[in-house]
């Protein structure tokens, strides 16, 4: 399940010695060896009373597995559990197996805050992997800052935030948006854009950035519209789009509305494969296509950092392991991959710091790199976001994206973009 290459750069010499020892010794001595000889003393790696023993370390997983958001967050839970399994199979972190405590945020923001307090105060977990919506992150943020916890947050989001207690493993808005618009302007000769979104902070902030960028390029936004979350009737806006004839529909519709929007777009006679107009989205991952149906999405473009079809050895191993654990029909979207990075980034930071202490892990985090990430190479920026590439995927009939473009360089995360606010 695990490729040896996965652990390359993050090994301390100590760990390598341990692994060699493990190969040589019989099982019983191995268990003994792990705690008695190789792993550093608990008192040394845990000075702040976290739930770390000689053989284990506890972490928290905090997502919604019930309620509206369960649709989206299930993939993240699966990815985090897979990563933890794989890390444990390699011997754990600083010689300690990871044990996770899973709590259900139940799609309810106060519940998220309550559960995160429970994880930090009662369970004393060393790190939490969790949250999905910005609303849930905003709800837990004061808790993490008050009790000094570490949150690994997987979703692409609107930016405008930078907490010492959060590592953002998804892309912030400028990373996701700018490259996509540049691409559609260059490759498709787009001159006019119709911006469309669900009515809450992420689509609005993202479209604001998109609009500024489009106007900077000297091009035109011919319409900008928002529909309430859960809206299911898009015929009127589709008529408006037909009237305005934009070159690009820039769509940030989320949740159940997505399904309605793309089905109705197709029914209204807009064939996305003809690219008149080009449909470019930043909110539809492979997960969403499962609900929309590949035949209703074929021809659309998405700009994000990860697609399941990415062709590199890391990703092949990741997809294979994911399917082996969670079933062969499962699909993996951008956020799922970002959630998978969380435990690995935390492990690397802990090993670099030589300690589980939150403050030391935080200090060690900037500059941490992961050459084994399914998306390729990522590095933690000073601002706690990741350097990552942005890619354009072209939706296929089978519900997968074909990668048609990727940025040459890593995009710098810029959560407070100047000139875009």
């Amino acid at each position: 399940m695990l490729t040896p290459s996965r652990s390359r750069s993050t090994h301390s010499p100590l760990r390598r010695r341990l692994l060699q020892g493990m190969l040589a010794l019989p099982l019983s001595i191995m268990m003994l060896g792990q705690s008695a000889f190789a792993a550093p003393a608990t008192a040394a790696v845990n000075t702040t009373g976290l739930a770390v023993t000689d053989t284990t370390v506890k972490v928290g997983i905090l997502h919604s597995v019930t309620g509206t958001m369960a649709i989206s967050e299930t993939g993240s839970v699966q990815a985090e559990k897979l990563a933890i399994d794989q890390i444990n199979a390699m011997g754990g972190v600083l010689g300690r197996k990871i044990e996770f405590i899973q709590e259900d945020g139940a799609s309810d923001w106060p519940t998220f805050a309550e559960k995160s307090k429970k994880l930090l105060v009662n369970d004393k977990v060393a790190a939490v992997f969790g949250c999905w919506t910005s609303a849930s992150r905003k709800a837990v943020l004061p808790v993490f800052e008050q009790y000094n916890g570490m949150l690994y947050y997987p979703t692409f989001y609107e930016g405008l935030e930078q907490s010492p207690n959060v590592i953002y493993t998804g892309q912030e808005a400028t990373q996701q948006i700018l490259a996509g618009i540049d691409w559609v302007v260059k490759e498709k000769g787009a001159k006019s854009f119709y911006l469309l979104g669900s009515d809450y902070i992420w689509p609005r902030t993202s479209n604001k950035i998109a609009r500024k960028h489009i106007e900077k390029l000297g091009l035109k936004v011919v319409g900008e519209e928002y529909y309430p979350l859960g809206h299911t009737q898009f015929n009127s806006v589709i008529n408006k789009i037909k009237l305005k004839k934009p070159d690009v529909i820039y769509a940030i519709v989320v949740g159940g509305s997505n399904v309605a929007f793309y089905k109705q777009l197709k029914a209204a006679g807009i064939d996305m494969t003809k690219e008149k107009p080009v449909v470019l989205t930043i909110s539809v991952t492979e997960d969403e296509i499962l609900g929309i149906g590949g035949e209703n999405m074929v021809g659309a473009y998405a700009s994000m950092k990860y697609f399941q079809s990415l062709d590199n050895p890391n990703n092949k191993a990741f997809v294979e392991a994911f399917k082996a654990k969670w079933g062969k029909d499962i699909v993996i979207g951008d956020v799922t991959q970002a959630a998978y990075l969380g435990p690995w980034l935390w492990k690397a930071a802990v090993e670099k710091a030589g300690s589980f202490d939150i403050d030391k892990v935080r200090a060690a985090s900037p500059g941490i790199e992961l050459t084994t990430a399914p998306e390729g190479y990522v590095r933690i920026h000073e601002n706690h976001h990741l350097w990552s590439k942005t890619r354009i995927g072209h939706a296929q009939m089978d519900g997968q994206y074909k990668v048609v473009y990727e940025t040459a360089d890593l995009m710098e995360p810029d959560p407070f973009p100047k000139g875009y606010q």
Binding site: I71, G230, N235, S236, V237, N239, L243, G269, L290, G291
Partner: protein, 308 residues
């Protein structure tokens, strides 16, 4: 805002916009009819209405999978089979729910609100456990997708036409049953005076059960039809529940005609405002108008004139 467009373009857009309004109207009627029967005729506030619709949608999903697996050559007509199965499944579940829960609550109408809300949560979690938390994609036969091009620029979505036709059929069927059949007479008698109706020999328990089950059955058909335009997931039913109650309450709870009139008013207002304003603004204005009218006419647009 229209200066840049030619007359022909504007004409075709208005034609399509008019059609969009009619589609929305049919969608509203379809989702509200079942509730109008349950809420309007029986006084039961059924918060689980959306979940009954989604049961219909899931039945459609299962049927499409079965046809794709075992009867590929009949796939183009599976939708009709699916709608019948959806009706049967939700009708049976409705009868079961009435028998197990609702019948104890007829004298406590507000408690039905809590009980059915609880039921909706239970059903959601059951869907989640059985079908998974992710939305499922329902594959439609090809002939239901796409649009008919009337002229070069006027295109009419086929699924919109389909929903419209279905709505007309179901509305007619409901009207015949309510106002022309013996059973309909019994239902109306029970609604107006339960004790009296019982005294003249109407089996009120049976009438209640079939009425409730029928309302749920229609919700199931609606849910089945909505797989063409919306999503199918454990919580998708919640997307419809607010609009559904809005239509029924605004129309005057006990009047089926009122439901249709109110669906027409709300849908036309909504879709034309959506065209001139943004989506969220249109929703706000629609709700404001509805609130305003309900303040002046608390009984809704149409009210039955009966002695209480």
């Amino acid at each position: 805002m229209f200066a840049d467009y030619s007359m022909a373009e504007l004409m075709s857009i208005f034609a399509m916009q008019g059609f969009a309004g009619l589609t929305l109207f049919s969608v509203f009627v379809l989702m509200a009819l079942g509730l109008a029967i349950i809420f309007g005729q029986m006084g039961v506030i059924n918060m689980a209405h959306g979940e009954f619709m989604i049961l219909g949608a899931y039945v459609t999903y299962l049927t499409s999978n079965i046809f794709a697996e075992y009867a590929q050559n009949l796939f183009s007509i599976y939708f009709f089979v699916a709608m019948i199965l959806a009706f049967v499944a939700t009708f049976l579940l409705g009868a079961l729910v009435e028998w197990g829960m609702i019948r104890f609550l007829y004298k406590r109408p507000l408690d039905t609100l809590l009980a059915t809300w609880g039921l909706s949560l239970i059903l959601q979690q059951i869907y989640r456990s059985v079908f998974g938390a992710r939305e499922v994609g329902v594959t439609l036969p090809d002939w239901l997708m796409g649009s008919v091009a009337l002229t070069d620029s006027i295109e009419i979505p086929i699924n919109g036409l389909f929903v419209m036709g279905l709505t007309v059929l179901i509305s007619i069927a409901v009207f015949i049953m309510m106002f022309r059949s013996r059973w309909g007479g019994q239902v109306r008698a029970v609604v107006q005076n339960r004790t009296m109706a019982g005294a003249v020999g109407i089996n009120t328990e049976k009438v209640d059960r079939i009425t409730f089950a029928l309302g749920c059955g229609i919700a199931g058909v609606a849910g089945s039809a909505f797989t063409m335009i919306g999503s199918t997931g454990p919580t998708s039913g919640q997307l419809y529940i607010v609009d559904t109650f809005l239509v029924v309450v605004f129309g005057g709870a006990s009047s089926l005609l009122g439901t249709i009139a109110s669906a027409f008013t709300i849908s036309q207002a909504q879709s034309s405002m959506e065209f001139f304003l943004s989506g969220s603004m249109a929703k706000v204005l629609t709700l404001l108008v509805v609130v305003g009218i309900l303040m002046l006419r608390p009984q809704g647009l149409f009210a039955l004139k009966i002695r209480r």
